[in-house]
Symmetry: C2
Subunit: 312 residues, 2 copies
């Protein structure tokens, strides 16, 4: 019997690679596991998971011999780590290979928001430039102050880029890091109060829910812009929408949302927000690298070798 279960919609290339390597059983979502017969489920020791549905105790208990849950993506907030630990299931993710793409999108959203580049693009394409003249002046980006909320690997990659834009870098992190003189804050409210642009690069999951609270948003103030490439859960989204609508912050650049892809319709009415469809890691090269790292973790497991990127 095959030992690997692949869950999720794969690209043709990735599916072909998974088949070549593991000849897996395939289902589309975790809820489909229950449709597999007992013998098939009992044979599964490793899952290749790709998706945004919860994978918890219920799914794990349907796979009595599961020992590896290899997630596609750096964020693993869909997976119940406590339930995995209780069943001696190791979880892996796909860190680092997507950092560059995520940092690129964060920086571009930040510039696009200040320089109103989506609106300026519309100004050209609608013919208004020719009809009505120059697009309105907007706000300088370089030389500002930025606060990184969460100076992990992605936060660091964002900060390194922003330093080249002559920005003064501040950050919050659980512990102080070795940096080129960046300013460490232990309090996210104090961080927000010290900067004009706040970039959220936290891990998701229950511990960071609403970490960027109404109080943090208020501290950022009317010249402030929030950039979020982490998870929709890390920001008090209703409080952010209130602040955006009322001009208590200047704007936002968001790749992630609480109820994506059915995002809060209040976002559609805001022209001070750059909206992206959770595409930060969405390049051919990076998605291929993520799929390869997922496969490499599964191959290591089946070969009884150390996992490459365990998270528990």
């Amino acid at each position: 019997m095959t030992k690997t279960l692949a869950i999720g919609k794969q690209t043709e290339t990735d599916l072909s690679a998974l088949k070549d390597a593991f000849d897996p059983v395939e289902v589309t979502v975790p809820a489909d596991i229950s449709s597999l017969d007992d013998a098939t489920r009992a044979a599964i020791t490793a899952v290749a998971y790709k998706g945004s549905h919860a994978f918890g105790a219920e799914q794990m208990d349907l796979l009595p011999n599961l020992a590896l849950l290899a997630n596609y993506g750096v964020g693993f907030d869909t997976i119940d780590i406590s339930a995995a630990n209780a069943r001696n299931i190791k979880v892996t993710n796909t860190p680092d290979v997507l950092n560059d793409d995520v940092a690129d999108l964060a920086v571009a959203m930040a510039i696009m928001q200040r320089r109103e580049m989506v609106q300026a693009s519309d100004w050209v394409r609608s013919g208004k430039w020719a009809e009505k003249g120059a697009y309105r002046l907007n706000t300088k980006f370089s030389g500002g102050t930025v606060g990184i909320v969460g100076l992990g690997r992605i936060g660091r990659d964002i900060a390194d880029r922003l330093a080249a834009f002559k920005m003064e870098i501040h950050y919050f992190s659980r512990s102080e890091k070795v940096t080129p003189g960046w300013t460490y804050h232990t309090d996210p409210v104090a961080l927000a109060g010290a900067v004009d642009t706040l970039v959220v690069a936290l891990v998701g999951g229950p511990e960071t829910v609403n970490f960027v609270s109404a109080q943090v948003i208020d501290a950022l103030g009317p010249k402030g812009v929030i950039i979020n490439i982490s998870r929709g859960t890390t920001i008090d989204e209703a409080a952010m929408l209130d602040a955006l609508e009322q001009g208590r912050i200047a704007g936002a650049g968001l790749d992630v949302f609480l109820s994506e892809p059915e995002i809060d319709p209040r976002f559609y009415k805001l022209d001070n927000v750059v909206l992206q469809p959770h595409q930060a890691s969405g390049t051919h090269a990076t998605r291929a690298a993520m799929a390869k790292l997922q496969r490499d973790n599964i191959a290591a497991f089946h070969a009884d070798e150390p996992l490459l990127t365990p998270v528990n």
Copy 2:
């Protein structure tokens, strides 16, 4: 009689500052100079010029005592420098104060093109994300190779930013510069052949017309993207449009065009091009700094002190 003539549409703040400093005669475009009476024209020794109309021998000869032509903007391709030299007219521009803004826009256009961020924004705002699912994968930006055509002050500011995106930097310039190991090319065709992204940061004017020729564009190839924040004249625009339409290059990010603001309608049909309305220096802070530098040059001239930023 007043010695200063202000030409162009000023912001209220700038106009007020010009009045306080010089009590100038005001006209809107160079063609209006002829409507001033002889005595007024003869009194003028300095012009504060802002605009995109040509300022040449004909205009200069209407101002027999003109000795300073202070341009608002770093590019002075509207001004006939030979004609100015022949009449002992000094020309000044407003360099450096706009470099950061121009570099910011160049970098953002480059990322937006590769990551299809205008289209991805439309995908969210049109509701397609919720209806049809994820936006399509696109192309990684960081880690690529970039060629800077013209490593002057703006080109350097762009390259410094792109280095933070882990890009391999190549450049063309009239002479080799001191760099952190960047690759110097004496031939723009060879430069284009070595890179995936070509950023045009040349000065405008007759010497650089069609510098990015059909041959350079062909050498860039089907994975290549052209970014232009210099002048529309520096690229063979018809050849670039052909290449964009035929997929012989991957795309472009353009803030400047040959016949702006009435740009070639072929651009509107291209979805692989990021279009901006010549707004690179268009921030409140930078435009105020440009106007101040223009006034400072005029004040220095009237006080018989050295000009701050002469170009001839």
